[in-house]
């Protein structure tokens, strides 16, 4: 049995002031936090021993009212102001203040977390399903005080993780590695689905308050925004979450005066963190919902208010580098209207609502459009967060070896990368192998999130293959080429802007329409259809892109329809209940790309469904209900109550 006192100073400290203990000792920070490990050759006997162990502790009250927090709970705070806020509010004809809330969600990744650690003399090898092998190695070196070069991390195959495996695997790997060192034996830790569901990271809960002032036409004059993100007991990426939310909170709108206060709040619940588009989902949902509210106040169509406030070429918020081109709003909007039949449906649902405001006749439907973007911004604040590298070698037998730490994860990605390499070098796709570098720290890699890492790696593979192709008929094989992304130039960012932000760099635009029906017996919202029009430059492999976007679209819809995860009430039975839409309830999903064969660099698109769908879903729900519940998700019972009260 290994407890905290058996480990000298072990704590995952990076980015988190007080550190994250490998095992809890004095204080247990959340229900399910590990106190120690019982080691043995037979998992069944270990389970029996663990079941017979007794822990005496005083219980704390759960912090349910987390929105009123004390200063000791603030883990990270960001604040910025731009323009003369008071003067603009004074000049405003309409002032509107609302709070928008997002719940906790499970990532529903395919396999529970686990790690296998083994020491050979002073060298440590770790097998682990992680999205960020480099970070895991850094953490282990820090925790175990061994040089990074003595640690090899073998990332194992994963399903889609939705950012649930960014940092938590580091904790489990540290537990396994420490136990392996003490016991002198290889140690494997594997969570059951139930343990994973109940006690590991989820999407953070948020509350975003927006106070806006606008002129008589509906033009934004001032925005006063407070973002609260509940990160649970621990989250080493809290600052990243805040920055991503802050940089997305103004959406695609321009405003001459803005004040933002953003807080990452600690509470005594399970660790809460990133999901899909890190903090951007929370932010887009809030600003889009607010723009809809504004449209209602002006009795205007939402698209009209949005178009009126949209950023133009050269404009930006907070003095960041401006847009190099106008937002392709008109084109995206036109195509979206066409494929979704939006104008006709919107008008007829409005009519139905007017005729039958209490929804007594049984048809309650809504449709909404939203426009959002994904930038190439990456984990700029974390050490190594935006560095990716690959090494490619073409051998004498015309086999290509692509070495990258990021290569392990996903088959569809590898298929896409293979296709590109095979086309450039005119070799067969099945002659291309992906390998882990033997010396993992020589080829660093940032996190493999939905599409941030993958588009950068794609560009690097393209670059290295072209370089090999150039040399190929002048030099003898084998020929190798290495490439890595350049670290972000933070000195180019204006003073008032947060470090690492680069608004609108390699941006992908997306318009999304969602149509929703509400079951009037149960109140459950049923997504009927999703349409997406995407302008993201060249799409390397349209089929792969479509498959991945459809999958993400369904996950994003599940965020809107699932039950809010309640760490105190949840049980195993809840796991599959919310894990996504069942085959039998599939909505229609149509996705179109604007000029996908253009000769531009590939840009990330994987987060677009998470950025745009919750906002569009929520707006469609408000149209259907004729009410504005200001929170996602909404349970059927809550919707029924809203309808009854209306």
């Amino acid at each position: 049995m290994i407890l905290a006192q058996d480990l000298p100073t072990y704590s995952l400290s990076t980015c988190f002031k007080e550190g994250i203990p490998v095992f809890a000792s004095e204080q247990i920070s959340y229900r399910g936090e590990a106190l120690g490990l019982i080691l043995g050759p037979d998992p069944g006997s270990c389970d029996e021993l663990a079941a017979s162990a007794r822990v005496d502790c005083d219980e704390e009250e759960p912090e349910r009212e987390w929105e009123s927090f004390s200063s000791s709970q603030i883990v990270f705070h960001y604040s910025a102001e731009y323009g003369d806020l008071d003067a603009k509010f004074d000049a405003a004809s309409i002032e509107l203040k609302e709070v928008y809330r997002n719940g906790i969600f499970d990532h529903h990744y395919s396999e529970p977390v686990g790690a296998l650690a083994q020491w050979e003399a002073s060298k440590l090898s770790v097998h682990c399903a992680t999205q960020w092998p480099d970070d895991l190695r850094r953490h282990l070196a820090d925790v175990l005080t061994v040089p990074e070069s003595d640690i090899v991390v073998y990332p194992t195959e994963m399903g889609r993780t939705l950012d649930g495996k960014l940092w938590y695997p580091s904790l489990v790997a540290a537990q396994a590695a420490a136990a392996a060192k003490i016991s002198g034996k290889p140690v494997r830790i594997l969570y059951t689905r139930e343990e994973d569901f109940l006690h590991t990271t989820k999407q953070a809960r948020s509350a975003v308050s927006i106070r806006s002032g606008s002129d008589d036409q509906g033009r934004l004059l001032a925005l006063d925004i407070v973002i609260l993100i509940n990160i649970g007991a621990y989250n080493p990426l809290a600052s990243e979450l805040i920055y991503q939310a802050v940089s997305a909170i103004t959406g695609i709108y321009s405003c001459p005066a803005i004040r933002i206060e953003a807080y990452a709040i600690r509470s005594n619940t399970i660790p809460l963190g990133a999901m899909g588009s890190i903090g951007a989902t929370h932010a887009f949902f809030a600003i889009e919902a607010h723009m809809n509210n504004l449209a209602q106040r002006y009795a205007k169509h939402p698209a009209e208010i949005k178009a009126l406030n949209m950023l133009k070429k050269g404009q930006s918020v907070f003095g960041a580098p401006g847009l190099s081109n106008d937002i392709p709003f008109a084109r995206i909007h036109r195509e979206l209207e066409q494929i979704s039949d939006y104008p006709r449906k919107y008008a007829s649902y409005e009519l139905v609502k007017k005729r039958d405001p209490g929804c007594r006749e049984g048809i309650v439907r809504g449709i909404a459009l939203t426009l959002g973007y994904q930038t190439g911004r990456s984990f700029s604040l974390q050490s190594g967060g935006n560095v990716y590298s690959v090494e490619v070698t073409l051998d004498r037998d015309l086999r290509l070896r692509i070495k990258t730490q990021a290569a392990i994860g996903s088959e569809p990605l590898k298929t896409m990368w293979r296709k590109t390499a095979a086309e450039i070098l005119s070799i067969q796709e099945d002659h291309i192998d992906f390998l882990l570098p033997e010396n993992t720290h020589s080829l660093p890699s940032g996190p493999m999130t939905l599409s941030r890492g993958s588009s950068l790696i794609h560009a690097l593979i393209e670059k290295t293959c072209r370089s090999i192709q150039k040399k190929r008929f002048r030099e003898s094989l084998p020929i190798s080429a290495k490439a890595r992304t350049r670290p972000l130039k933070t000195q180019a960012v204006p003073e008032n802007l947060f470090p690492g932000a680069q608004l609108f760099d390699s941006v992908s635009w997306c318009g999304t329409a969602v149509e929703v029906e509400i079951d009037t017996l149960t109140g459950i919202p049923i997504p009927l259809a999703v349409w997406m029009v995407i302008d993201a430059g060249k799409i390397v492999n349209q089929q792969t892109a479509l498959a991945s976007l459809r999958a993400s679209a369904l996950s994003a819809l599940a965020l809107c329809t699932a039950n809010d995860f309640d760490p105190l009430e949840a049980g195993r039975k809840d796991y599959m209940a919310d894990s996504g839409l069942r085959m039998l309830q599939l909505p229609r999903i149509e996705i179109e790309f604007i000029e996908p064969d253009r000769n531009t660099a590939a840009r990330g698109i994987g987060e677009l469904p998470f950025i745009t769908i919750p906002a569009a879903f929520y707006s469609a729900l408000t149209q259907a209900l004729g009410l504005d519940p200001r929170q996602l998700p909404l349970k059927g019972g809550e919707i029924l109550r809203l309808l009854e009260g209306s």
Partner: protein, 161 residues
Amino acid sequence: MIIDVTVNGVQRHLKSRSGDRLVDMLRKELRLSSLNADCLQGRCGKCLVFMDGRIVHSCLIPAFKARGGTILTFEEIAKNPEVNDIEKAFHATHTQPCPFCHTAKTMVIFDLLSRVPLPSEEDIVEALDMVSCPCGDPIGLIQTVKLAAELRNKRKFNREA
């Protein structure tokens, strides 16, 4: 207790504790890695096996119910040429499942095509509902099944011809 059961064509006498599910017994006693005990609710499909010819979630079956029965797992099913067709279809439609549900999706499609060689979209949707996958592309998966059916029928037809 000891359960006598035929697994993948071999007669076995497997140890099981009271309360064990079929999936636990098969994993523990035979170390069959194609099976996973994951949701334990008959939803994720990662524990699918054929029991006396019918595809079932082995997490929902008490181990003792398998007594005298015949179990086929992916290890055996993978020997069929149909699995090759399915594999090709996964590749062609870019819907390769993750390693954790790969066997489950293959088994479900295998079962469907052996019952209904030309399945309708409703047949496909109903069959795939046995594997609840929160991360795949279900629309692409429907195309996969159609393509697998086509490949299978072509192969069989050519052979017969």
